[in-house]
């Protein structure tokens, strides 16, 4: 029963940092695309922290993120960056090494 309980040793399987430039169209799209992707494909087993580089660029610098929006996959390893508005779900699955669902014809 791994529900919304991230309390102690039970960490979510997928942890993301989403770097955005708040208000910029691609960033707005990325937030929305990630939200729906997670909801539809990852269920509850994930955690997203949104970082607005316009407020503080230091985390972006620390992680070597120069493109926005950019999704940093913290868990599971290895560390991967998915840059862009996240409109292409196949690329996100590829980054997370998730199988690509068979498409209906």
């Amino acid at each position: 029963m791994p529900d919304h309980d991230f309390s102690n040793s039970e960490r979510p399987k997928f942890r993301f940092l989403l770097f955005i430039a708040d208000g910029e169209p691609n960033s707005v799209a990325a937030k929305e695309n990630l939200r729906s992707f997670c909801a539809e494909e990852l269920g509850v087993d994930h955690e997203v922290e949104v970082v607005n580089v316009l407020d503080d660029a230091q985390p972006a610098l620390d992680h070597g993120i120069v493109l926005t929006p950019a999704l940093l996959v913290v868990e599971p390893p290895p560390r991967v960056i998915v840059a862009g508005s996240l409109s292409d779900r196949d690329k996100i699955r590829f980054a997370l090494r998730l199988p690509t669902p068979a498409r209906a014809l």
Partner: protein, 479 residues
């Protein structure tokens, strides 16, 4: 005149007539290994020393190796960083990036902006920006991002350089939006490596056009501006003795200080002796002489001059004479030029002797040699330094042909030496072939090199000889 930010790089501010456009972005283009990074680093180093903090952004190198390389030039960026006068942002673009949909570089811009603000930077440099923009595969996207980056930087009111690889696709766009574009280039001609800088655009400002040679030395970039030669030199007035009183008489009082004198003659006619005589006499008069020897070493020059009774040793010891001995083949003409100009700047001599200027052809090709000669002459002329150049004429060249070479048109004075075989041995002759603005003799006079130096006979062998520059020697007071 638009406001400018000096770069502090030797020679570059002269070319840019003050520096880079203040509050604007300058594009520095060049192929691999042309020196873009060194230019960018030196710009920040010199500005930091002048009290203007700077930010360096690279998408290519690691901060540690960059600082290490800079330290080899004597630029201690770590110290500047500790003093909060410098910050470096090194971004590694190599980790796995998966692209999904459209993106832009707001992250990079935000990082740059915040870092610049944190140290109060007034200047910046972004190195290898093509690496960043290369992430955009679509050309129209790339040029949009480029313009976005340019605009964002411009809005910061910072003065900066963005370096771009020459062959990076889509970078031509950059030139349209930028106010100032510099191009670096490196080529090998006649096995000589030459580096050149050219300003291809400078909105709102004049600049020295042409390609300006530069070197990357152990202390940074050294640029030698090829100036549009201003012919506004004050007419010479003071005379400098040639060291031979009879020759001074033939010249109408000696060489003009601050002008160019050429002593032409075949091998063994006494050119070096005459040039050394001048050096010794100038030193005795309390003036400094830089003697650039492209024919022999200092010690062999000193030894050779002892026989005609010229002892250069006390003058070398007194420090009024300095010998710069260089093998012409050792380096290219640019490096030779830098080396002699550096010596001139350091020693600030009254006179520069080059023995022999004709040896400069061995530095490269004929045109490079001529370039060397012309630029040395103008460098000296600008500073009121007399140039005395010896030049080797072909064996048995007659007086009448002695001024028949390119450089003589730039010299105010040409003294010719010749020799001819007679039953009793060689007979040496001397003539003032031209001496602009003087009432010089135009006869040909026998002379001897004795243990007391050069001695010219008072009776000419050819009294009525007219030089090829008859117009100038009109009214010459012949004996």
């Amino acid at each position: 005149m638009i406001p400018k930010q000096p770069t502090g790089i030797k020679g570059l501010d002269e070319v840019l007539q003050g520096g880079l456009p203040k509050g604007r972005v300058t594009v520095l283009r060049g192929g691999h290994g042309t020196g873009k990074t060194v230019f960018a680093l030196e710009f920040l180093w010199r500005n930091a020393l002048a009290g203007e903090p700077g930010l360096f952004v690279t998408f290519e190198e690691q901060a540690s190796s960059l600082k290490e390389n800079a330290l080899a030039m004597g630029w201690d960026f770590q110290r500047l960083e500790d003093e909060k006068k410098f910050a470096i942002i090194a971004i590694d673009l190599t980790p796995d990036i998966v692209m999904s949909g459209e993106f832009n570089i707001d992250g990079a811009i935000a990082i740059i902006r915040q870092k610049a603000k944190a140290i109060g930077a007034g200047v910046f440099a972004i190195d290898a920006s093509d690496r960043l923009l290369g992430l955009f595969h679509d050309p129209s996207q790339r040029s949009r991002r480029l313009q976005g980056l340019h605009m964002a930087l411009q809005n910061q009111k910072l003065t900066g350089i963005i370096t771009v690889k020459d062959d990076a696709p889509g970078m031509d766009q950059f030139e349209y939006v930028s106010d100032c574009v510099l191009r670096l280039d490196q080529r090998v001609e006649d096995q000589i490596n030459t580096r050149r800088l050219r300003v291809t655009k400078y909105r709102g400002s004049g600049y020295l056009s042409n390609e300006h040679p530069f070197l990357i030395t152990s202390s940074g970039v050294r640029l030698l501006p090829v100036s549009g030669v201003g012919l506004s030199y004050a007419p010479p007035s003071a005379r400098a003795s040639s060291g031979v009183s009879q020759l001074d008489e033939l010249l109408g009082g000696g060489y003009f200080a601050g002008t160019s004198v050429i002593i032409a003659g075949a091998s063994g006619t006494g050119k070096t002796t005459l040039a050394s005589t001048f050096s010794a006499a100038s030193c005795a008069a309390g003036e400094r002489v830089l003697f650039a020897s492209y024919e022999e070493s200092e010690s062999s020059l000193v030894r050779a001059m002892l026989s005609p009774g010229i002892d250069l040793r006390p003058q070398l010891e007194a420090g009024c004479l300095r010998v710069l001995s260089r093998l012409p083949e050792a380096m290219g003409p640019d490096q030779h030029l830098f080396s002699i100009i550096e010596a001139i700047e350091e020693f600030s001599p009254h006179h520069v002797v080059v023995d022999a200027i004709s040896a400069t052809e061995r530095m490269g090709n004929e045109s490079a040699a001529f370039d060397f000669q012309v630029r040395l002459i103008y460098h000296c002329k600008d500073r009121g330094i007399t140039c005395v150049f010896t030049t080797q004429a072909r064996q048995w060249t007659r007086m009448s042909d002695m001024a028949n070479f390119e450089l003589s048109s730039l010299a105010e004075c040409v003294v010719g030496l010749e020799q001819e075989w007679r039953d009793e041995g060689f007979e040496r002759r001397i003539a003032v072939i031209k001496s602009r603005g003087t009432n010089h003799a135009n006869g040909v006079y026998p002379f001897h090199i004795t243990s007391r130096g050069v001695e010219i006979e008072s009776a000419p062998v050819i009294p009525g000889h007219r030089s090829p520059h008859a117009r100038e020697s009109e009214g010459g007071r012949d004996a």
